[in-house]
């Protein structure tokens, strides 16, 4: 229900904007979503999420009511194919996921995306400020606050609604692709069909027959891809290059910057493409208030850059001054943290010109170039980057052949060149991050290469498809060049058919967003049960919990952190990744805390009950949760439990033993006793 109200607010705002600006209603869902993201981000930075929500919904309701009163029945004329797709597809996804209720399963959904969204919704505070066990708190908030907006009227955080929120972002962006075809509905349907298949088409990390997470994942990359492509679609799809276009695109670019750090680069590349296109094709038509020609173009580009920088600065200032522990955004790297972002750019540019080339830079550059043709590095269902390059080049060539006017042909050429330059720039930027920010271990395998490069491929393909739509839109039946309208229609039909066949045959349909089996979430269901059991045994929200989860690689630690939320998950005993990339079994509780260097060195660290007790005291731990224990633990630590682990077997398996114990101190003696008021007391 809450998501329906959220959708209604977006549709209302879209209709209002379409009426006021005179631009196509198809681009307005994207603008509305972007406005929502920025609106909630702005308020959230000052810890005003609830007022932001109330104001947002009041204003949207007023806008909706106003446009209904003014337009009455004529409002039906605003229901363009794009807007209808946005509404219909979002509702379909909401209904489909409400039935199957999928759960989060992927690593980063627990380390950040899901956990941050849950913290924000359940405390009505941004995750940077909210009290929670979230460790990484510095990622930009666009998607998280948008999910907050969609769940504003909900009573508690719901996982599948987070997925639906992201779907709404994708569909809003896809809708923009049909902006030029508002009057040509059949062709619009063909282009939109291609659009909604994109997330499946670009799901590269999975082999054929795997479980598909397209439309289910809560990672930010698909949203990044959609909004990047949506920005291009918005620019090309706007029928007038006027001041409104400047503002509408500015909002979308700010939102793109605010989704993830790399969004800044993508937003800048949208500006590049738009800027080149304005110069090459629109110099006579462009108007920015009283400015015309080059002046107007420069003013627009300045506005766009200002929006991007504004969004970036807003979050930077929030991290610096709005958080309890100030963070300098320029010091944050990726996992390796070897260089700050600014230093990375300088070092990277120098390295391109041959100064101070590190071994890692040379290796990464060679690997990245090879990755374009490497069969094992598929970026889409069709294969590696080179295939995508050929597909996009082919599409653009088709557009060039089909374009009925000189202007449109110029536009296609300008887009081909500027988007290719953009691709090279983005690729070089990725080389920099792998060379100077990632740890050598991760850089040597180009960790998550396909996921990082995917947003550009998808956005690029979206841009090419939008231009194809543009060719169809511009073609009228004339006696001369009769082949062109024919070829246009045939082209659009063929491209759609190719998409459908590729995704239909090669895509993963056995288990995907439309067919979700609960057994895919067995790990999550186990964790949910564990937390329920611990709560029944007396775990309180304010407890500081130590998790015994031997042999865990961190998955259960982060999952528990996500599920438990209110209590602070503190520490755990699992395995560690050594500097050489091997998984090292710790074997002993708290070893990694006592002497982490020893683990990395592969040495066996002997932890004793005394060391564990001292550590628990130091950290102020009040509760002890047993996820998984081995026989060594049972032997060495059994005496610390007041019930000597009754119900647990010497091999560490559980046959009715308690999962949760309270940490009790008598002088220096630490004892784990069944929690008071719990099932075990």
């Amino acid at each position: 229900m809450d998501v329906c109200i959220g959708l209604a607010s977006l549709v209302g705002l879209s209709l209002f904007l379409a009426r006021q600006t005179g631009h196509s209603p198809s681009i307005m869902p994207l603008v509305s979503v972007a406005l929502g993201m920025m609106w909630f981000t702005l308020f959230a930075c000052f810890n005003l999420l609830v007022p932001a929500g109330i104001l947002w919904y009041v204003l949207c309701a007023l806008a909706f009511a106003w446009v209904l009163i003014k337009e009455k029945k004529a409002i039906l004329g605003y229901l363009s194919p794009g807007l209808l797709l946005f509404l219909g597809a979002s509702l379909f996804m909401l209904a489909a996921l409400a039935v199957t209720k999928p759960l989060l399963t992927q690593w980063d959904e627990f380390t950040f995306w899901g956990t941050a969204a849950k913290a924000t919704v359940s405390t009505n505070q941004l995750y940077t400020i909210a009290q929670s066990n979230l460790i990484a708190r510095t990622y930009p908030p666009g998607l998280i606050v948008f999910n907050y907006a969609m769940q504003f009227f909900g009573t508690s955080f719901v996982e599948y609604k987070l997925m639906v929120s992201l779907c709404i972002v994708y569909f809003a962006a896809f809708a923009a692709a049909a902006a030029m075809l508002d009057k040509k509905r059949p062709a619009a349907i063909l282009i939109l069909t291609c659009m909604v298949l994109l997330p499946l088409f670009f799901e590269s990390g999975t082999a054929q027959g795997d479980v598909s997470r397209a439309y289910l994942t809560c990672y930010s990359d698909p949203a990044l891809a959609a909004v990047f492509g949506g920005g291009l679609a918005l620019y090309f799809g706007s029928n007038k290059k006027d001041a409104w276009l400047g503002w509408l695109l500015a909002v979308v670019l700010a939102a793109l910057t605010n989704i993830k750090d790399i969004g800044l680069a993508l937003a800048a590349l949208v500006v590049l493409v738009a800027f080149v296109d304005l110069i090459v094709c629109e110099r006579e038509r462009v108007a920015f208030y009283k400015l015309r020609g080059m002046h107007a173009i420069i003013a627009m580009a300045t506005l766009w850059f200002a929006a991007i920088i504004g969004a970036y600065v807003l979050w930077t200032l929030h991290l610096r001054y709005g958080m309890p522990q100030a963070v300098n955004r320029f010091d944050i790297g990726a996992s390796g943290q070897t260089l700050s972002q600014a230093d990375m750019l300088i070092a990277g540019v120098l390295a391109v010109f041959g100064i101070n080339r590190t071994e890692q830079f040379k290796q990464v550059t060679a690997d990245m170039v090879y990755a374009l043709v490497d069969k094992n590095r598929a970026v889409s269902l069709l294969g590696s980057g080179i295939v995508m390059l050929i597909v996009i080049a082919g599409l653009l060539l088709l557009c060039w052949l089909l374009a009925p006017t000189k202007k449109l042909r110029r536009r296609v050429v300008a887009f081909a060149i500027s988007s290719f330059v953009g691709f090279v720039a983005y690729y070089v930027f990725l080389i920099f991050t792998y060379s100077f920010i990632f740890q050598p271990v991760e850089a040597s395998v180009l960790k998550d290469y396909d996921r990082y490069i995917m947003p550009y491929w998808q956005g690029w393909l979206m841009g090419a498809l939008v231009l194809l739509g543009g060719c169809v839109a511009a073609n009228h039946t004339k006696k001369r060049h009769v082949w062109r309208p024919v070829a246009c229609r045939a082209g659009a039909l063929a491209v759609t058919a190719a998409f459908l066949l590729t995704v239909g045959w090669r895509g993963n349909w056995q288990a995907n967003v439309l067919h979700v089996s609960t057994t895919l979430f067995s790990d999550r269901l186990y964790i949910n049960n564990l937390v329920q059991q611990a709560e029944a045994e007396g775990m309180q929200p304010q407890d500081v919990v130590y998790i015994l989860s031997q042999n865990d690689n961190g998955t259960h630690f982060y999952m528990l952190g996500f599920v438990m939320q209110a209590s602070r998950v503190l520490v755990y005993s699992g395995t560690a990744i050594s500097a050489t990339g091997e998984t090292v079994a710790i074997g002993n509780v708290a070893a990694r805390l006592v002497n982490p260097e020893a683990i990395v060195g592969g040495n066996d660290v002997k932890c004793t009950p005394e060391i564990l007790a001292a550590y628990l005291r130091e950290q102020g731990v009040t509760g002890f949760l047993i996820d998984f224990m081995d026989d060594d633990f049972y032997q060495d630590y059994r005496e610390m439990f007041s019930d000597t682990l009754a119900g647990w077997q010497p091999d560490g398996s559980n046959t009715g033993g308690l999962r949760y114990y309270q940490v009790v101190w008598q002088g220096d003696t630490c004892t784990f006793v069944p929690a008071q008021g719990g099932a075990g007391a």
Partner: protein, 232 residues
Amino acid sequence: MNMFIELPGGRRHLHKKRLLVLSIAFVLVCYLAGCTFILLRDSSRIQNGILQQKTLVLEDFTFESVQILESENGKQRFVSTDHDPQLIYTIDGQTPFAPGIVSFDAQPHLPSGEMVLYYTTKAGQGFSDTRRVWAFQQSDGSWQFDLTGKLVYAIRLDPDSVQAGVVWQVNSITIGMQKPAISYYLPDARLWLVLLGAPWLVWAVVCEGFALLDILLGNRFTKPARALKGSK
């Protein structure tokens, strides 16, 4: 139903609204025909004995990473020797059978993982990730795999778990269960997508295809070629 709107001057337009209604009807008819076909085929398979409800015991299977334990309380038990135990069932490898709905009613002593069933569609074919279905757990705790309409030569049950040494107590394993007739017609999310999305796509394809043909044939449908010349 006239699919054209007649305009003054002998010109005609395609009646797109009527065409949309026709598209919806077309998709609906295709859907119902498809469901009926599968239903009828299953009934004929029942008569031929290809689709047959059978309760299997562990002796009917061959195993991988599985050790049979002694029965307890009259229930068969087995233990996994790694995280990927496999129970394979086939008649003789050469005879096809329709597995219908496969039900795996068993109790693990530790939490289970993904519950997957692989199948082969040709004699002598190996198991592959592209031919498998995931289970849906029922309210009674049993797992059901829906293979309705499929004809297979072997099935492989994979009750995964995080670790080895999971003891399974088997209540019953059944194959060849048939859905009630009405269930053949109830769409799942995938079919809902087809029902809701396909009419639009069919409509778009027909509209564009028609326009294409029309231009190719010198506007034969929308505007008679003679009238066009005469008007100039």
